[in-house]
């Protein structure tokens, strides 16, 4: 199978994503039951059959999300497959972060297992040794053996481990992009660069508002070869004025303003909106372009997050109008 098949399949799969109007209709559900009834009419139906409460719905949505990613991985080959495998590791990283946090608090294998997304279906690492590890040190040793070299000097600081895992992920992603033999490599690099910029700016401005030290921020900023450099961010951080970030990076002004206002949950949504806008507005000259695959992956993640948000918002009884504002459309 060629990359062309993968791209064509992504086009086909993109058309199967839930429409904006349907997602808005889901948002108007008065109860979780009503939400489930509507969603069960779609391709999510078989997965949701057993779901009764919000927790099982959330789990089912996560499983379906990973299943759809795995399907894409199955039809990819060679370099494209290697890249996708690395790119999709973001979900594994998320699992690893959760494992590290829970291991630090001495959670049992069963407790941790309940929280995880089935990322092993994405050709990811076998998480069993991590779950069975007796301490966080054992988890760290296993991760170091698995190739997370950024963890080499880290002991048991959960936040440092999280930052190192993310750093390791993005390093691997940039390395694997270089190995791709496609024309639109640079577009993918730029999109990932924007994602990193958003993360770094959130870290920087958030830490500035929380009066965190420069040393702390330095450890958490991720190297971005296709965006704002770590050095530049640190220099601005040292000036201690969050408004300077707006002045220097006006294209990220909405995010920076939210970080200054301390609206952390909106930051996540706005970051996704910016990424989606960036991907949607990208003018792709050809129908056969690998960027479509990345765009589909982003759209799929957004759909998963939208559905999860709606299930949880319905459970919390958040008013319909507010629920709609929690969506990335």
């Amino acid at each position: 199978m060629s990359v062309t098949y993968l791209i064509c399949k992504s086009h086909a799969l993109e058309s199967r994503l839930l429409s904006k109007s349907f997602v808005l209709e889901l948002a108007s559900s008065n109860t979780l039951g009503e939400f489930l009834d509507k969603l069960s009419q779609t391709s999510y139906g078989p997965r949701l059959r057993e779901s009764r409460d919000v927790w099982s719905v959330e789990k089912a949505l996560g499983e379906e999300f990973i299943n759809r990613l795995a399907m894409l991985l199955k039809i990819s080959y060679e370099n494209a497959r290697n890249f996708l495998k690395v790119f999709l590791k973001r979900n594994e990283i998320q699992n690893l972060i959760w494992i590290v946090r829970m291991k630090k608090r001495g959670a049992s294998k069963e407790e941790i297992e309940r929280e995880l997304l089935p990322t092993w279906e994405l050709d990811g690492m076998d998480l069993t040794p991590l779950l069975e590890a007796e301490s966080l040190d054992d988890v760290l040793s296993s991760l170091k053996r698995a190739g997370y070299e950024e963890l080499a000097k880290i002991k048991d600081d959960v936040l440092l481990i999280e930052a190192a895992l993310k750093q390791s992920y993005y390093r691997q992603v940039f390395e694997s992009i270089n190995k791709l033999s496609i024309a639109d490599k640079e577009d993918i690099r730029k999109l990932i660069g924007v994602e990193l910029d958003l993360q770094n700016l959130r870290t920087c401005v958030g830490a500035l508002m929380q009066k965190y030290s420069r040393e702390f921020v330095e450890k958490f900023l991720l190297e971005n070869p296709r965006g704002i450099s770590k050095r530049r961010l640190l220099a601005l951080f040292s000036k201690g004025n969050p408004n300077l970030f707006i002045e220097y990076f006006p294209r990220y002004a909405p995010i920076i303003r939210l970080a200054i206002a301390g609206e952390d949950w909106r930051l996540e949504l706005e970051s996704l909106k910016i990424l989606k806008k960036k991907a949607d507005l990208k003018k792709i000259p050809k129908y056969i372009s690998f960027f479509y695959v990345i765009r589909y992956l982003l759209d799929l993640e957004i759909e998963y997050r939208n559905l999860r948000s709606l299930a949880l918002a319905t459970y919390h009884g958040i008013p319909v109008e507010r629920r709609k504002r929690l969506l990335v459309l």
């Binding site: 929280e115 936040l159 949950w265 930051l267 958040i318 929690l326």
Partner: protein, 205 residues
């Protein structure tokens, strides 16, 4: 309450002593009751604004927590909530007018600054501040509960002494006093009668 009584002077004196003691106790209990009411009033006055503050704080916090949950998902919320260390408190009994009320001392206050990623830090800080207020609220509410319970008991005692025990003793003392008076009058009459009889007999002689 049944009290076995004997209509004797000694018994009367004993009862009068007991009544005096009960009246003293009643007065003391009344003083305790007034003091408890004053303490309770002060605590309730402290509780009202604190409760309003905590309720508002918790409501806002739950709203924010719900939004965090919705946006980041259950796993992120659950695992983020255990990043930091736990708070340790010690609950020691403190005596207020002889009543045990809790005194909550924070042994270990977990650090929030630089212990959480920035996107969680502000929520964690708000949560930590709310927990401090909740501890204070719990301390005041438990104190109020304990004091109110004791006030109720004291009130029952004061009322029992005022409405039952003291009147009963007063009536018993009156009964003994009446009986003794009656006995004295009888004795007097008997003596007078004997005296008249004796005078009559001497006259005949």
């Amino acid at each position: 309450m049944s009290i076995s009584i004997r209509y004797t002077k000694g018994f009367l004196l004993d009862f009068k002593r007991r009544l005096e003691f009960i009246r003293d106790a009643h007065q003391l209990l009344e003083m305790k009751r007034d003091q408890l009411i004053r303490k309770l009033k002060a605590l309730v006055e402290e509780l009202k604004p604190l409760r309003e503050k905590v309720e508002k704080e918790i409501e806002e916090l739950y709203g924010e927590l719900a939004l965090f949950h919705v946006v980041y998902g259950t796993q992120e919320l659950r695992t983020a909530s255990i990043i930091g260390e736990s708070m340790e408190v010690e609950v020691l009994p403190k005596s207020v007018i002889g009543i045990s009320v809790p005194l909550i001392t924070k042994i270990k206050v977990p650090e929030v600054k630089e212990k959480y990623p920035p996107h969680i830090a502000s929520l964690a800080e708000k949560m930590a501040s709310a927990i401090n207020d909740l501890i204070k609220l719990a301390e005041i509410e438990t104190s109020i509960e304990n004091l109110a319970e004791d006030l109720q008991r004291t009130n029952v005692r004061v009322n029992a002494l005022e409405k039952a025990v003291i009147p009963q003793y007063e009536s018993l003392i009156k009964r003994i006093q009446d009986a003794l008076d009656h006995e004295m009058l009888e004795e007097f009459m008997r003596v007078k009668l004997v005296k008249n009889v004796l005078i009559k007999k001497r006259g005949e002689v």
